[in-house]
Symmetry: C2
Subunit: 580 residues, 2 copies
Amino acid sequence: MRDFCMDFSAVVSCFLILVPILTVPTSGAKSRHFRWEVEYMHRSPDGLEGVVIGINGQFPGPTMRARAGDTIHVELTNKLPTEGVVIHWHGIRQLGTPWADGTASISQCAINPGEKFLYRFKVDKAGTYFYHGHYGMQRSAGLYGSLIVDVREGDKEPFEYDGEFNVLLSDWWHKGSHEQELDLSSNPFRWIGEPQTLLINGRGQYNCSLAAELSHSQMSQCKFRGNEPYAPRLLRVQPRKTYRLRIASSTALASLNFAIGNHKLRVVEADGNYVHPFTVDNIDIYSGESYSVLFTADQEPSNNYWISVSVRGREPKTPPGLTILNYQPTPASKLPISPPPVAPAWNDFKYSLALSKRVFALKGTAKPPARPDRRILLLNTQNFVDGYTKWAINNVSLVLPATPYLGSIRYGLTKAFDQTPPPDDFGREYEIMKPAGNPNSTYGNGVYTLSFNTTVDVILQNANALKANVSEIHPWHLHGHDFWVLGYGEGKFTGKDQEKFNLVNPPLKNTAVIFPYGWTALRFVADNPGAWAFHCHIEPHLHMGMGVVFAEGIPRIKKIPREALGCGLTGKLSLKNGGT
Amino acid sequence: MRDFCMDFSAVVSCFLILVPILTVPTSGAKSRHFRWEVEYMHRSPDGLEGVVIGINGQFPGPTMRARAGDTIHVELTNKLPTEGVVIHWHGIRQLGTPWADGTASISQCAINPGEKFLYRFKVDKAGTYFYHGHYGMQRSAGLYGSLIVDVREGDKEPFEYDGEFNVLLSDWWHKGSHEQELDLSSNPFRWIGEPQTLLINGRGQYNCSLAAELSHSQMSQCKFRGNEPYAPRLLRVQPRKTYRLRIASSTALASLNFAIGNHKLRVVEADGNYVHPFTVDNIDIYSGESYSVLFTADQEPSNNYWISVSVRGREPKTPPGLTILNYQPTPASKLPISPPPVAPAWNDFKYSLALSKRVFALKGTAKPPARPDRRILLLNTQNFVDGYTKWAINNVSLVLPATPYLGSIRYGLTKAFDQTPPPDDFGREYEIMKPAGNPNSTYGNGVYTLSFNTTVDVILQNANALKANVSEIHPWHLHGHDFWVLGYGEGKFTGKDQEKFNLVNPPLKNTAVIFPYGWTALRFVADNPGAWAFHCHIEPHLHMGMGVVFAEGIPRIKKIPREALGCGLTGKLSLKNGGT
């Protein structure tokens, strides 16, 4: 049996196979308790051994599942030897619990080694979410997992399906995250390069390909016993049934395209919000985004089909991530009859833009206020600061402080960071199509104070990077809110562009992309007291300063759990007011 | 000139050359201020690039120099991205400043990333010391440097010399310290193995040998331009002059033997205490020890001579560390005429023991109290705890708590650690010559509470490790005190052995070794209020639990700077007593 299992095409039945979830929880809103230990582990996500951050011995971390209205309690113990840790619950708005947002230096102090922290928050809205580290580059180190919120008991999704699968996407480097961090912070600058492997649910293949025989690749055909931590998890389906794929991207860098050979995908949810359903052959998914897509197993059931994930937006140096859609009762061992689907050209940005423009809110979704109270234009540029290569927003490269903003602002610790606000705009003469005349920038704290309950428009303006003819994709993610995506455009945003904003059915999202040399317009209501990160979700870019912070209604927050503020000036403040 | 410099034998004059320090400071006791930033850096200590922890861009960290009676102020900023940091001032007793001892979880909370901590302490006693990280395995990562204390103004050393050199020894692995930490904490256990390279003042050679031509080695002869970070620093001397070498070992693992070809060494100081001078051909130095040795440049001045550092006590898989003693005006480029001195056989423990037994206090050194008030026997064993490979003391494997002992004991936070004291002795029937019948041990907090101002004898008892016929060297280091080394013995310590204790002129030291299957007897007075680590100075052994803590006179401590106690229950305690 063991020998039999050595040959991939013969042994797919040996694999761990994902069986769709068909059960429906039956109880009402409740508290759900988790005890998690975060620690480093040896693991081979793609066949080469490396070091990952795991939770309770699992990589990716355990899938968390709850119902809308439930309260999640995660008692997290930091078992990293010398490093702090936090976990961000990506897409959860943390209404009333801004200290549980899990962003180090912004919403809380990093949890010290050996200490526990209780994340307690409500998941108020059904949808596909995920969680991940938000300190240094711990997300790159593998600290992530799925967070799925079902509708409230008795509620129905506005679409039907027979089963569902989680598909959590990520990218993986052979160089460890600590060294990547150092490389990015060095002068001369060392770029981390493209990922070695794309992972589907934490599994990829580096030294072989699942599709080598079909693709006439120079790679060898993968052979597995099935118990390898890099053996793919297959998705097993019944013919004619309809399935929901909950796809989320926790990549550090890669923008991805997802496809199932021979199957159409019907997009029904984006970032935890229902969208007007539309059908595609494949879908782009940027880091920080999540989508639910439906597909029906309506193809020839005696075959199996590829599930393929490819790099987009950057010249791909990473082979596609693959797994197999296995029709029952076809043997899992039967390879698809043709090579995996080919993604659109990596630099076909028009294709990407057209896809993004197809996303509209489902009818009945809340509409944006008719006009903003404030408009903030954020120019994204690559710069030098003191000779170090950085990203900056309106010429300010974000450096996070030792005292979390939530605490320093709440308690008036004005020495915790420079109180000069960053600019709401950039010099309108800035030539976005060229490298900057003066590429030098400065460090800053990037805190925009928003008047409570006002409506804010953010125009993200892309530009040329340091090198001529280079402008990159940046997926921007907002904590604590969903925003409406009012429009995308090419070139420099002008006042005239706002006349074309979609105020009728703009999608609600928490992550939106800016395309090379383009702009993206967002609107949100600053109605959630807290300090909220808004940043490029490419982790090395954030590490290089590509983010800002929105502070809103913080004086309204009555009490911040002291456990969240044991560091920096908040730690000292409390000590001064009493203690020993 | 560049080509000329490519050949090692031709270019020694291109090297950074250590010139002896001849100046004598002239002012009285004073405050000396340092501002240090601790951060990761790329560096090639042995020719292969790795990652080190540096201070102000230097590796090893800057040499700190002061006079006895001075007060040192180090404002340390932690610039590691996600890790805490502390610095221990090895050999400095921290009289009256136990919170400045720099041992995470014992004397203070680790300093958070982005935060500053002020180490302020008096260097009360002249001598050769060093400093190093004491959190996780940050010492292995290269966080160390020299700390030299000169005699008070007007005072004289009890020996004369014309110049001096610092020689800080360490060992280096190509695997990063984070991964080493994980390996050691894994089940199945992964041992870190022997170091790849021995470093002298942070410099060694991995892919070549300085002495290849002379040793008929398979290695190639090193060729340097001279500006490489792994080019050796030569020691330049004038014929007939006498020099003081201040040798300290910050190795993570290796026990070393130090020799200068053709030159005798006169030992005059050990661990910051004067010893009765004695002359040797070479000297063993264990991790945590420091020695001053005098030598006179009395050899043929038209030659140069090897300085050689070799592994002892473990089967050497690491080539000797080398540099050159360069007689003036002989060209530095002239290689010594014979191969480097050969160290005694690695397992000639009798040689080592005999050397250790030659160390006596200089006349006039304080004598130990005649008898102890308490005797603690500490059995050193290698064990399993829950399947993990550990070291234990009296069957307790040390696990450090989230709240520093100094704080939790001072403020009566009994929940911060298990209050059950560890045993003062081990089962006297324990067979030290064999692997334990039951190798299983338990985790514990290892805190021995010592009555203030009492005299304590500690008998360190070595034993067989997990594998038959293996017993290892362990150099034990005590914080906050010097101890008298009353004797060494082979086999199991018995009451009779104490009759042979040297109470006449035992050396004062802070680090003492136990030899395989042997015991070592120490005496000290518990007169320094604080919580003091006492541990094997082999960093992976400490990481695996090989240490205890002595708590003494803590209720006498009036006030602990709050900055030292911002973590764990002390952080929360203070917050509860007030704050916001």
